[in-house]
């Protein structure tokens, strides 16, 4: 197991190294540099030139890449051109918001998706199945910004159930222990803060959950259908095992393997999906910060974000592999 972990961790190096080159070249190729984004429209060519120099953009490209790589290796993602603060610090400040949102979205997706997919498979061809398949298709097809718009019109403006923006109500006082609002509230006993944070998480959580939810429903349904046809399930039923035992030990456990893989990949994609969701809900996480960075050509922020996402994907894949071995003894034996 240890060897497996070490090997997988070492695989990170070429993956991230290759990615850093691709990323660097791509960013260099983008037309319209930060000197246009950072200075007002009327800045003179001299001012733009001075800005390019002060940002180190006049150096040969190889020098720029090596500087970039050296900094990354030192754990320095550079300084945001917009805020003048270290990118890593900006990410860490905003990470708790994005983490809470992603966890909410995944919790919604898994807690609704798994049972729904399972029930759809059990009642194949029924109304529930039809609704689950149709609904998940709709979930995949609906753009997040449109879903966000509908959610806000119905639940925020119409029914007044949930706030339409932000992470906490403006001016709400709270004891700040860490950036994790819900956890902090639970630790300090400020339940009003917890409740306020949960209300603010609801709509963006649902919007962000839409795609993973749809994928999980479909994956679970397909996987359960496949397992239900297996001989060992029929045998288990035939030998008179209790229905719930057949469902949990034989059907769900076997059907879970592909679903867990997709949950892993979907968790990685949540951070990328947060860019749009957070910006339409003014949810102050990494996503909305990156959204602004894309408009202002904030290279260090974009580079850092993509590297972080890539590292997360690799890490999550590692976790998925480990969870395989827990779910499937055959993988462990190998």
């Amino acid at each position: 197991m240890l060897r497996f972990l070490v090997r997988r961790t070492l695989q990170l190096i070429p993956t991230l190294g290759g990615l850093s080159i691709l990323l660097f070249v791509w960013l260099q190729r983008l037309p319209g540099g930060p000197e246009y984004a950072l200075l007002p429209d009327d800045a003179t060519p001299e001012q733009r030139e001075q800005m390019r120099r002060s940002l180190g953009l006049e150096e040969p490209i190889a020098v720029q890449y090596l500087t970039f790589l050296r900094r990354i290796l030192q754990g320095d993602l550079g300084t945001s051109l917009q805020t003048g603060r270290p990118v890593l610090e900006e990410f860490l400040t905003r990470f708790p918001a994005t983490f809470e949102l992603s966890v909410t979205a995944m919790a919604i997706a898994v807690s609704v998706g798994l049972p729904l997919g399972y029930l759809a498979a059990r009642r194949r061809g029924g109304v529930l199945d039809f609704a689950a398949v149709g609904g998940s298709l709709l979930g995949i097809c609906t753009p997040v910004f449109f879903l966000a718009f509908v959610l806000k019109v119905v639940f925020s403006e119409g029914l007044g159930l949930f706030p339409s923006a932000f992470r906490l109500s403006p001016g709400l006082s709270r004891t700040e222990l860490s950036g994790f609002v819900v956890l902090d509230g639970l630790r300090t006993g400020e339940l009003d803060v917890v409740w306020d944070a949960l209300l603010h998480l609801a709509l963006p959580g649902v919007a962000l959950a839409s795609i993973p939810l749809a994928v999980i429903v479909r994956m679970t349904r397909a996987s359960v259908l496949e397992v239900l046809d297996e001989d060992y399930v029929r045998t288990a039923d035939a030998k008179g095992l209790h229905r719930s035992t057949v469902r949990t030990r034989h059907v769900m456990r076997n059907a879970m393997l592909p679903v867990v893989t997709s949950i892993g990949l979907l968790t990685g994609s949540l951070f990328a999906g947060a860019v749009l969701t957070e910006s339409v809900f003014a949810f102050p996480g990494i996503g909305s910060f990156v959204y602004v960075a894309t408009q202002t050509r904030d290279y260090p922020v974009l580079t850092g974000f993509i590297l972080v996402i890539a590292a997360m994907y690799v890490l999550i894949n590692l976790l998925v592999d480990i969870s395989y071995s827990l779910l499937d003894p055959r993988v462990r034996a190998q």
Partner: protein, 554 residues
């Protein structure tokens, strides 16, 4: 086949329904806002960059800083005339190089320091003596735009400093000397970047450094820690919660003027335009800026207040004379001007209050001339002119920006469509090119587009702030070479006599519209929205609202 919903399925549904009911009850009690003590929440388009406005060059930082810091001069409430700010009145020497400011008596800073001439001079001297990374244009943009360079320039590209000295001739008189007059004065003294900070603040930040190596600068701590910076404005900075992108301002009870109507004002960033509107509709915020023209009417119908500012911007269609040789011919430029139905753009795309522009700045600025050559919509005349010039089959590339709205250009694609259709109607073949904003600015700046849409919102009330931006020197954006115009422009700009300068601007406007380097299209009033229970501040054509004037309705 219908199956009866099982009890197991119904149980969680029932639980969800009761939770929703609970949520409704709680949510409603929290929404019961609008009372005297409730914070006024304003949805801004982005978070602020720095608590010290000197380091900024963006509207959102300045929106915050105008509430907290004050400048020597400012613009009248709701207008564009320059009036006294911290200086009650001021005078300039005949040659425009010596500016004497008579400061208000009894002004105190948020930290208890008193305003005097020494404090004002200490601020100017600090800016003038900045060194190292402070001299990067990103960290001192407006100082460089107004005063050029520093006491000791560290970059050869920086111009000599226009600033000579600031002397406190008595307790309340500050005399600022500059090397030569330029029309950027006195407007330059009103820029939010030059907000005056208290002597204690200056002492505390004297050693603050922008750290890091080239291209990787890091701003000093004081720029984000409330409690260090103190101004004289109607609000103090209580908190800048960066992880919520939220700035909380508190009423300053010892303010020298009328104290703020709101006890607490919160600026909260909502970068997405639709999200801002929905947050106002949902009651999460009480006001926001940069309202899309299409949203104005629905918001008013829904009971919101959407006051319209006076116009202080201009949108134009630029002709790049080097990129497309045909544009170097006056007849062709005139033909294109006659071909475009600008009234249709104003009527169908711009918000109410928009108007067709006859010259390169709005009539709210002194120097606007009623006698410029005008170019009426006349497609037949356009065809004739093209025929005469031998360009009846003209093909031209036309650039427009995507994914952006500017106060002067609410819907670039729609505006492009109208103009493009008009040009095609007179026989011009248009090659459409669209670019994302930053790329667009780069390409148009370097002369890669023959026709393109761009505009400008003024910083202060001087015509040179508009026409000088484009037509002061030969540049790639326009590709025209008119030495006479450039000379006349320089002469007007350096004339310290205001009346003569205004007369010169009028002549320049007439001259420019004869040359017709591009077609001024329209001026568009940017809108700002407020909830029904808010008494809004006077709206400013320069988007410089003083939120202390606002209050909750009784």
């Amino acid at each position: 086949m219908f199956t009866k919903p099982s009890r197991k399925l119904l149980a969680p549904l029932a639980a969800a329904a009761s939770l929703t009911l609970l949520a409704t009850a709680c949510a409603e009690s929290e929404r019961d806002e609008g009372g005297q003590e409730a914070p006024f929440v304003f949805g801004s388009a982005g978070d602020i960059k720095s608590l010290d406005p000197f380091l900024a060059n963006d509207g959102e930082t300045f929106r915050y800083s105008r509430q907290v810091f004050q400048t020597l001069l400012e613009h009248e409430s709701g207008g564009s005339e320059i009036v006294g700010g911290l200086a009650e009145d001021w005078e300039q020497s005949e040659d425009g190089t010596v500016w004497t400011f008579h400061l208000r008596d009894g002004v105190v800073f948020h930290d208890g320091d008193e305003l005097d001439a020494e404090a004002v001079c200490a601020n100017f001297d600090r800016w003038h003596n900045l060194s190292g990374p402070w001299q990067s244009s990103n960290n001192s943009y407006y100082w460089q735009a107004i005063f050029g360079g520093f006491a000791e320039n560290e970059d050869e590209a920086l111009p000599e400093s226009r600033y000579v000295s600031c002397e406190a001739t008595d307790e309340l008189t500050a005399v600022i000397t500059i090397t030569e007059y330029s029309s950027i004065f006195p407007g330059g003294f009103s820029l939010a970047a030059f907000g005056i900070m208290s002597p204690s603040t200056l002492e505390a930040i004297a050693d603050a450094e922008i750290t890091g190596e080239e291209g990787n600068y890091s701003l000093p701590d004081y720029t984000r820690t409330p409690g260090t910076v103190a101004g004289t404005g109607p609000f103090t900075v209580e908190e800048w919660n960066r992880d919520q992108a939220e700035v909380t301002l508190k009423r300053f009870d010892d303010y020298w003027g009328d104290t703020a109507g709101f006890e607490t004002m919160i600026l909260r960033a909502i970068p997405d335009e639709n999200a801002r509107r929905q947050a106002l509709e949902a009651g999460d915020i009480h006001g926001y800026d940069l309202v899309a023209p299409a949203d104005v009417e629905p918001l008013v119908e829904a009971g919101f207040q959407v006051p319209t500012r006076d116009v202080f911007n201009v949108l134009y269609l630029a002709y790049q004379q080097e990129t497309n040789e045909a544009l170097a011919e006056l007849e062709v430029r005139q033909a294109l001007a006659h071909a475009v139905d600008r009234q249709r753009i104003v009527d169908t795309i711009l918000p109410e209050g928009g108007e067709v522009a006859t010259q390169f700045h709005p009539d709210t600025l002194d120097g606007w001339s009623p006698d410029v050559t005008t170019y009426e919509y006349d497609p037949e005349r356009a065809e004739e002119l093209l025929e005469e010039a031998g360009h009846a089959d003209l093909t031209i590339d036309f650039c427009y920006p995507t994914e952006v709205t500017r106060p002067y250009m609410p819907a670039p694609r729609d505006i492009f469509d109208v103009i493009s259709a008009d040009l095609e109607a007179v026989g011009v073949t248009v090659e459409a090119k669209s670019y994302e904003w930053t790329e667009y600015i780069g390409r148009t700046d370097s002369g890669e587009c023959s026709l393109y849409l761009l505009g400008w919102t003024g910083d202060y009330n001087d015509a040179y702030n508009f026409i000088g931006t484009w037509f002061a020197v030969q540049n790639d954006a326009w590709g025209m070479d008119e030495p006479e115009l450039f000379d006349a422009m320089a002469e007007a700009s350096s004339n310290p006599d205001q009346e003569e300068r205004i007369a010169a601007y009028q002549e320049l406007n007439e001259q420019i519209m004869e040359i017709l380097p591009g077609l001024p299209i329209s001026s568009s009033p940017p809108s700002i929205a407020f909830a029904a229970n808010v008494e809004p501040p006077a709206v400013s054509p320069l988007t410089q609202e003083n939120f202390a004037e606002g209050s909750w309705k009784e």
